[in-house]
Each structure stands twice: as C-alpha cells, then as structure tokens.
Symmetry: C2
Subunit: 333 residues, 2 copies
C-alpha cells in the first residue's frame, strides 16, 4: 500500500496527455494529493497548488508519485536529481514507468540509507495464490469491453464515486498501474504469471460485507486476442455478481489489430454472460457504459437511446451523464 | 532446445507414477533416450537399459533429464552428487522441478566451469512478444477440456504420432513441462506473464507449410476458474483450425474445486467454438477424445457410442483405440 497523501511529480511533461496518471489522481482521489511538482518547461498542469519538495513535505506529503508518462518510460538525469533529493528528504517514491525504480542503483541505495520505500506498481510485489474458486461474501461488479481502452476503468471509478456519494459501501479495485497509483493499492494483473492471474483477482477482492460492492477494474476484452486470457481471469477470479458492458462506437477495428472487427454488444453479452455464470450462476448483465467522446453533442443521446432500446439495458455515458443509472441497476439486484 | 539423446534420471523414485516424465519420453520419443539411470531403492522402471553416466556418455547421451517428480520437488543431497558428476562429465541437465537447477549455486558453478547447460523447463527462457493476431500459414489443432488433466496432452501426442505414421506433416507443440522434456522444446505457458501468454502461443506455432499440422498441447479448461485464462490464451494465440473436445466421464467435480461441476460436452463445444471463431472464423470442432481409464472393458465402448450419437462427432479413447478417427476427421477438413 502506497502511503498518502502524495506530491504529484509532473516533471517536464511535454503536454497534458502525458500527465494522465496525475490527472486521474486529481479527478478521482483529490484528497490523496497535496500539490503538484513541475520542472522547467513542464507542459502539463492538473490544477493543484505548485509546491517544492520542502513545501509539500510541510503540508504532509508522504510519497512522491511519478504522475507522468514520458517517451520510452525512461528516468532522465534531470528527473533523477529530483527523485534523489526527495528520497533524502524522507519521501517514498511510486512509479508505473517501464524503467523500474528498483533497477536504478542510486535510487535503491538512497532509499536504503533513508529507510524509504520504492513502489514500482507495474510489477507485482506479492506472490499471489492459485485461485480456489471459493464463493466470497460481498458483491462484485466488473466492466467487460467490446475492445481494450473503451472506458472500463472510468466506468468502475464513476460507479464507485456515485455509490460513495449515496452513502453506499463501495471500493474500487484497480488491476492496472494507473488505478493502483490513484487509489494506492491493487494488482498489476497484466504482469502476473499466468497460473496466478485468477488467484490475484481473488486476493484483490476478499470477503466483505453483504451490502458492499467491489468495482473491479476491467482489462482487455474477451474478443481481443492479445489479452483475452487476462479478461477471462478477471471474470472467473472476480466471481462478479454484475457485469457492465463497455463500448466505444467509433472504432474501425480492434485496438492494434487491423484485421479484427469489434464484436457487437449482443455478442459481448452472450460470451461474457456464458463465462461469468461458471463462477457465479447468479451473475447478471446490468447495463451498458458507452464512451461517446467521438460523438457530437447532438448525436450521442440518440445513439444511447438506440442501444438502450436494442439491448433492453440502461445505457449511459458515465463521463457525460454520471453513473447514476448503473448504480440504480446494481441497487435493484 | 534441449540436446538429445537423453539419459533418463529416475533417481530414487518411490514408485512408477513418480517417473511420469521418463515414461512419457519412453512412450512418445523413445529415440530420444539411450537408457535410464536408477539409484539404490528406485521403485520405478521405464524398461530402458540401465546405464551408468559413463556408459550412457559412451552411447552418445548429451543431456541428463530428471524424469522423476519427488515430494516437494526438492533436489536431495543424494541427487546432487549424481548431477554434479554428470556436469563434470559434460552432460547438460534438464529439469521440470519446482526447485530450479539455476537456484543451486554448486550446479551453476559446475555448469559454468564445464561449459554445459542447465535447462529449467518450468520457467520461460524467452521474452515472448505480445500477440499480433496476424493470420499464420499452416494448420493448428487444439484439444480443449471439460476439466484439467483429462487427457489433452495425450490426445495431441497420439494425433501427432498417427499423422507421422501416415507420412503426414505434423509437429506436437508442448505448453507444459512434461511435453517440453519429451520433445526437447516448447513454452511453459503457465509460467508466462499474463500480457505475453497469447504471444507465447503464436511464437510456439509460427508459419508453416499449408499441409502441416501443429498439435498444440492444451492447458486448463474454459470452465476451470483457476486456469481458464491460460486456456483462453491458447485458443486465441493458437488460432486453431480444429478443436478436439477432451473429457473424463467419471469426475465428481472440477479438479481441485469441490463446489464446481463439470460442464457438459455440449456446453464445452458451445463456449470453445464461440471463442475460437474470434481468432479463426473457419475453426471447426472435429471430434471428441475421452479418457475412459475408469470405465470397464465392457462399458467404455457403449459410453463412446452414446456420446458419438449425442454429439454427432467422432468419439474415441486414443489410449485404447488410437487416434486414427480424429486424424481422419482432420484430413477431411
């Protein structure tokens, strides 16, 4: 578990898009961040107070989180100087970069000397068990997509936020590095060894109160041949009580696979429901979350209405409309 | 790739079952083994010539293969003495034990000093790519099971052997440690990192002649919640042209999962066909392989006939009847 609150390191991010992780923390867990740290030439701004390491430390910051993705995922010399200074001041570091903190000898030595921690959230820090399939208490919801990167994490985050606002018991359970940095814990599922994938999802979503919902972050797609095994492990390790179908309607082909067409929402419902019932015979498909960012203001509502009529399921864009109707559907189960 | 021929190390195996790997090599690739090495008290015998290290070396053996599973998978002191002597004589070693050869400092030092290799087939030795999904030349056949350990490897081995006997182009493609030790190469799929599973299967089964068949060793089951992600990666990474359904009819529940019932063969066909068509729209289910070892001589044929009538697919036990009818079905595609 990564100690909060954070200072968000934006470094010399070339643009706002490069600060996706920091923006996610600001959007979903603003209470986890005391401020942002920007270097000369930084092109990103997540609208937190600019702070030096000293100012943030005084404000209570425990961990410097690398909230920026740079070209090649490499830790530059300019970054290194800041990171070393932070460690010397007692900060833990957390990063989702390909270039692991633990592979940098000077960072490791400094962390050891100062008794601080280096969190590389891209790789597992736990030896996960093999899944037992034993039925767990509490409820779990999983978003499954027609493709990768169609809004599954956003959907889970938005449903979790809505439930908290309503005073319902809810936890978002990250399975990817961005989600892990946002909430401070989770499982980097794509880096787990095959035999332990489903067990890692069980580990992530243990027994809970009967009226508590875990929102498990989805990954990949049953229809994406590169990553479908990860999706399957989420469906069987997660034992979801509820599935949300996630879709992006303007894709020309599966992400990164020009020869593969997206499945229809009907095909996704059929396949995901068939597989989910193996682990939980009571699982229900409760709604559809559509990423309509590429549809105009005057067309997205028509599109959602059309899908809702065809599929007979609540169909919303959680970014434009909030996740209220999906939470209503969960509540009605 | 492990150098052949082998000397098979049976050590002090308590019984015949413990020598499963050695027996598999003897059954499927007898040309790969010059003899067996047994220590005092060995309770296993795979009916090869007993040889000392010196005798086997003179007979051309290149690799000492640990063909035995012991309790805990640990390399004992008695074994260690033999393994060190073998390395000093120029043998490579190959093992599928949990206790990795590479984790034993004295073996590593001896291998380095003698310029010999240590093969731990339980862990990957290659950085596999992410799957591209690009359509490959040649044909591929995959056995999918109602459960784990129902005879998928045996089915693939038997089909491969039958095709070779007929002069057809065929390769068995191992995805588990036993198969890798038998053939000398393959992918230990259950130890591959999640993101690279399907890519590892693509790597294992590259472009080939149009009339060549790869028989990909199946793993797990779409209906076994602990390992279904691995099965899914085989189906999507393998792009099979043909599926064989594998079944063991006397199981009371899914292996290791007392609360889970086996699916019917109809349910398996539906799920596997649905998923396989994502990667290969021309995939066909061509037959059924039943492990009837727990059915009596006077009942197994009735059982197979009943399944064949229900499923309208050639249904055989490859151990009792050979894989001829499955190969006929492949040939007819």
């Amino acid at each position: 578990m990564i100690k909060t609150p954070y200072l968000l390191f934006l470094g010399d991010a070339p643009d706002q898009l490069a600060a996706k992780v920091a923006q996610g923390i600001k959007d979903w867990r603003p209470e986890n961040a005391v401020g942002q740290f920007r270097m000369d030439g930084c092109g990103a701004d997540v609208a937190l107070t600019d702070m030096s390491l000293t100012e943030a430390k005084a404000a209570g910051a425990k961990t410097l989180v690398i909230g920026v993705a740079n070209r090649g995922g490499v830790i530059s010399a300019a970054w290194k100087a800041v990171l070393l200074e932070a460690i010397d001041m007692g900060y833990d570091l957390a990063s989702g970069l390909h270039n692991l903190l633990r592979d940098e000898a000077d960072l490791v030595a400094a962390a050891k000397a100062n008794g601080t921690q280096l969190h590389d959230v891209r790789v597992p820090s736990v030896q996960y068990p093999i899944a037992t399939g034993v039925k767990r208490k509490g409820k779990r919801c999983l978003a499954v997509g027609t493709d990768c990167s169609v809004g599954k994490m956003y959907t889970g985050m938005a449903m979790d936020a809505e439930m908290r606002t309503r005073g319902m018991k809810s936890t978002f359970r990250p399975t990817g590095q961005t989600g892990i940095l946002i909430t401070g814990e989770g499982v980097p599922l794509d880096a787990v060894v095959a035999d332990f994938m489903a067990g890692a999802v069980e580990y992530l979503t243990p027994d809970n109160d009967d009226d508590h919902w875990d929102h498990i972050e989805g990954q990949g797609s049953l229809f994406h041949v590169s990553y479908s095994g990860v999706t399957m492990a989420l469906i069987h390790g997660g034992q979801p009580d509820a599935l949300v179908l996630a879709h992006e309607p303007t894709r020309k082909h599966m992400r990164g696979l020009p020869d593969y067409q997206q499945p229809s929402l009907q095909e996704l419902r059929e396949a995901a429901f068939l597989m989910a019932r193996v682990a939980n015979p009571n699982c229900q498909v409760i709604g559809i979350s559509v990423n309509t960012q590429h549809l105009a203001d005057d067309e997205f509502e028509n599109y959602l209405a059309k899908v809702e009529a065809e599929m007979c399921l609540p169909t919303i864009d959680p970014f434009r409309q909030g996740a209220g109707r999906l939470v209503d559907a969960l509540d009605a189960l």
